[in-house]
Amino acid sequence: MNVSAIKLEKNISRPDILFGVARVPGTSKAFVGGSDFKIHEIDIDAAKPESRTLQSAHETYITTLALAGDSIISGGYDGKLIWTKASSGERIREAQAHGRAVRKVAISPDRATAVSVADDMAVRFWNVADGRKIREITGEHQPLTPQGFRSMLYACAFSADGKFLATADKTGHVVVWEASTGKKAATLAVPVMYTWDPNARRHSIGGPRSVAFSPDGSLLAIGGTGKIGNIDHLEADGRVEIFRWAKGDKGEKVHDFITEGKKGLVEHLEFHPGGDILLAAGGAGEGFLSFIDLKQKKIVHQEKSPMNIHAVATADSMKSIVAVGHQRVVKFVVG
Amino acid sequence: MNLRSGTFRLSVIMAALMAAAGSLAFAAEDLVLPSPSLPPEKVIDQLVEAGWKEQGTMPAAPADDFNWLRRVSLDLTGRIPTGPEVAAFAADKSPGKKSKVIESLMASSAFVRHQARELDWYLTRDKNSPLSAYLNRALAEKRGWDRIFKELMLANEADASTKGTTVYLKQKVRDLDRLTNDVSVAFFGVNISCAQCHDHPLVSDWKQDHFYGLKSFFSRTFEVGEFLAERDYGVVRFLPNKGKEKQAEFMFLTGAKVAPPGAGEPTKDQQKADAKKVEEWKKSKTQPPAPSASARAKLVELALSAKEKEFFDKALVNQVWYRMFGHGLVMPLDQMHSENPPSHPELLAWLARDFSSHGYDIPRLIKGMVSSRVYGLSSRHEGGSSPPANQFAVARLKPLTPMQMAVALKLAGMVVGASEVEKKVEEAERSARGLADQFPPVSEDFQVGVAEALFMANGSRFNGNEVFPEGADKLLTAMSKAPSDDARADMAVRGVLARPAVADEASFIANYIKRHPGDPKEACRQVIWSLMASPEFRFNY
């Protein structure tokens, strides 16, 4: 894949800030959700893409969207998960899944299980088909930061074989779980991504926002931002740390990548199915897509996005990249 | 501007000014002034004493020699006298000994440094003394106050002799209202900011036209990066509290006006071209050229012209008088207008005339004041109620400025030989800056805060080597080695308060040291501390 042959194919302006995107396989349809509490369907490739608003709505911002078969599962700051039928837009069910904001929903490769993480610091497993709670993990990600402030549980992702799940909280505490048992398999730490400023401003910024397993499951990539001086701004470059992890081990960090000249948070991480290319997308005031070549051990291409990116959905082995974020939906094509 | 309406407005203003004209000055022309050839100190004594007679005031007794020497040293050179100076002055029985001391203090380099520091604070209110280099040079060369005014207004950095002047205008140029008022207060003794929003109801001197008239002279001044620049066009418009927006004229406080300097208002294209130039200067970091006609230069010319210079002549006289006597001839200092007459109109008028006719010689002005008998009165008034401040019948307490305080603390800890006074004083000044920052600046309403008392009582900085150094030439060491407690007492009082100990004090101190036998040096330190924390030390009394 020639990642430097990337071009912006669609640039769609929106009134809202979008935090979630899911694409319907084999079509040009995508579902997006964010600051207007609603799910919208867009035909990205249409000459004049118009959006259709589904009936399902959260009480506040939607933070994440995932598609499992015909079910859209959305999570929001209201702590809810809502199941919506993708084909009809009809609301299937709703669950008060968490006590605080849901930050991420991940779907298992077999599409049978959804996992949600939220600021109540709980990891919950749900049966996609009937919405039944299968399992929950609490007590591992601490509700308070070491400085006594409320923590946040930002990211989760399944391994390609569905055997493992990774979760990452604000303080940089990252855990790999056995998906089938909920047992802890490994613990990793990315302290640099969390900046606590004890003197100048006395609060924090940052935290890992994205995790992804390599296709063979041996590597775990964690995305966030670097150490920040003035925490009024996301002023550090984006950061990706890659660990070779093994069961019962602390893991060995094999790479640090910094998106030089591209400031902000890495909010989306995704390995190319071939395993050599890792996409890191995110931003602050502006957005970026960075392509990391793991063989060359460097960032081989960085593409500026028209807006700060909060979520990405790819198709066709990453040849088609749809990103959503600050008042825009964009589509890039690679190669 | 429509010519006809302009003429109309002008006539209205003229009418208003003519009505007010009689009160613009302090009716100086009606005053009978003593002869211009008299020495200033004689005139001061004559006119102030006349006031006492008129009011039936009993003045305080003259200050004793030690008190006078400390006062004049602090006022002229910003420091307390050293041991040898105190001893020499006490030993000198000649009638002209005070003049000799005044001459010698004024000839010392500390005189220039102290006066420059005081003027710097007066002009900038910045404790970092941003005008220091310039003012030291100007005073060392005995430049007149008129020249200093002109140089600060013209701010020519290119000329070596006026280098360092720009900071005065630059400090204020972002707020032209403030700049206008600050210049008016410092050089003309009037705070006209009241007239920013309305014609003054009672003081006919102050109209909105006056405020905006004076502002006009500064309105063309602006910053270009690190440089100051002036356009050769630009007028001020303002909204009077009654009527429609109007254009201010280039008018001085007295109502005197000049035509707008320069070639008139520019076209839009000219303005665009000028804006481009400004960008280029900014980029290339070059000093923009002087305007074809400087409005600020016009102001200087006007303010110093024979007919209009009364404000300028009087403002610094009153300020220096305030500094020497602790109370102005006009109070508040920035209210030198017709409705607020001076306590001694003839004296102010005479001194202003003398100041102007002697080339605005600041040292002459100061010397006249400190040479007077009035200056030499005691600050203690026994019996009856104390006369009001504006009779100058008793000396006022003047709190030491932060630098005076810090330098005094340094010198008080030091034993200085007669030959090394200048050197030691300079050293003390140099090392005093940090300590000076621990004390608040002085203002007329000055009150000692508890932070200062706590700093002196418990601050490790105050109670350590900086204030209580040890060594062969240090008070603490010398005192602890002295042969007797009486000798220690005398040494402490002389060192800190610049006078010999009186009987009670000596026995108090000797007893204190006796009662603390464990560590004599520590007892000495405590005695020195108690004197430094006394009001006698804190004030120029």
Binding site: Y61, R202, L234 | P201, S379, D445, F455
Partner: protein, 428 residues
């Protein structure tokens, strides 16, 4: 002191936007302060205290007291019902929501200055400094109005331990002079120079002070001067202030109380503030910096607002339980609020046109809201007030006449700008 004919009267400047600078002091050198005291006011203000929770950097009104859920400007947090019917606050403040009974929310500040330094000066002083007048801040005014010259405790204590914004946080005694300035705590929660140095024994310390006192007494004979009096008074207060050091020591508080305030620095300072006002300190500012969330506004507020909610509610509970709330006014205030617009970095920027503060306890109508912003929070829709009226309201709540004059030379300077009316609806 004689007065100058021709000085301005305060009311003349009431209508002028450009504030009055009149017959005043030359850049601070001739400020002679003399207060005119109205006897009735002196009684009403007796025993009144103030704790100012100063949210430096600018806390967001949307994420605290004036939520707009559902508006495009509203952000992700929902609002929750408070103990006052029909009044909702951000869901980040559940404890305050449940105990709004002592608090009046003011949602209609339009203070026009969205610069940190200028805004802090304005919101600490109630007005802008003039070319020739440095105004005292609220703490200095209240130190003077509520303090006792013989007091053994400080009159004005200000905590501000974070370094950001410390240098321009709006404090200063202005023309009132150092006597009424704050005891600043910048480095730790124990003030400087309050404890006796190890190098001197307690008895020597006392002896040394007594010796100083004897010099002072001798010097005072035949001399009259306000400055001289202040020197004597400053040293006379040293012993009492050193005693007050124990007020800053939380080991004197029960574990239960300390736990209630929580483990954070802000909580500890609020508890010290309560101890100080209990001991008679009239004004304590607890500075909590730094709220300047240009990026990640929601994460920042999700972190910091719960702390504010917890500390403020605990403080009000504690004051209430001790019967102190009727005489103690707790002010929660920033230098400005934050923009309705959410920027691309999910931040909110500086905004002074429509924002909120709160007054709790002494002299205010609890469980109430004054003023209203429009649906998006862009503008004040009802009850717009600026800094001047807020200050007049605060002074009035404490039993102080906001139009009381100090005198700068001959010029009368009222505590708040001429003609400023307190907000009646806020006052109990």
């Amino acid at each position: 002191m004689s007065s100058i004919p021709g000085s301005c009267t305060p009311s003349e400047h009431a209508a002028s936007r450009r504030q009055f600078l009149g017959a005043a002091a030359a850049s601070g050198i001739t400020a002679m302060v003399s207060g005119s005291s109205a006897l009735a006011g002196e009684v009403a203000k007796r025993g009144k205290r103030v704790i100012l929770l100063w949210l430096a950097g600018g806390a967001s009104q949307f994420e605290t007291f004036d939520p707009k859920p559902g508006a495009v400007t509203g952000g992700p947090f929902r609002s929750i019902q408070t103990s006052t019917s029909g009044v909702r606050v951000s869901e980040l403040m559940p404890r305050m929501a449940a105990r709004l009974k002592d608090t009046c929310l003011i949602r209609s500040l339009n203070t026009k200055n969205a610069d940190h330094g200028g805004g802090a000066e304005l919101m600490m002083r109630g007005r802008r400094d003039e070319a020739s007048v440095r105004y005292p801040d609220m703490g200095s005014v209240l130190a003077r109005e509520l303090g006792d010259s013989e007091s053994k405790v400080p009159d004005y204590v200000s905590f501000y331990l974070q370094s950001e914004g410390q240098g321009f946080s709006g404090t200063g005694a202005g023309f009132l002079g150092a006597r009424f300035g704050p005891m600043q705590l910048h480095k730790g929660t124990t003030p400087e120079n309050l404890s006796r140095l190890d190098t001197i024994s307690a008895s020597d310390f006392a002896d040394r002070m007594a010796l100083r006192e004897s010099w002072s007494r001798a010097f005072e004979k035949g001399r009259v001067s306000a400055a001289l009096g202040s020197h004597q008074q400053a040293f006379a207060r040293v012993g009492g202030l050193m005693e007050s050091q124990k007020l800053f020591d939380l080991s004197n508080e029960s574990a239960k109380t300390r736990e209630a305030y929580g483990p954070t620095q802000f909580g500890e300072q609020a508890l010290i503030a309560r101890r100080l006002v209990e001991a008679g300190v009239p004004f304590v500012r607890v500075g909590r910096a730094w709220w300047d969330s240009h990026g990640q506004n929601f994460e920042t507020h999700q972190e910091m607002v719960p702390e504010l909610d917890h500390v403020m509610a605990t403080l009000l509970d504690d004051l209430g339980q001790r019967g102190m709330l009727k005489d103690t006014l707790v002010i929660t205030l920033s230098e400005f609020g934050r923009t309705p617009n959410i920027n691309a970095s999910l931040g909110r920027d500086h905004f002074a046109s429509a924002w909120s503060c709160s007054l709790s306890g002494c002299g205010v109508v609890g469980g109430s809201v004054y003023g209203k912003t429009d649906d998006r929070g862009d503008k004040v829709a009802e009850g717009e007030i600026g800094a001047a009226r807020l200050f007049a309201t605060i002074y009035k709540a404490l039993g102080i006449n906001p139009q009381k004059n100090y005198h700068l030379g001959s010029r009368p300077v009222p505590l708040t700008d001429p003609g400023t009316e307190p907000v009646k609806e806020v006052l109990a």
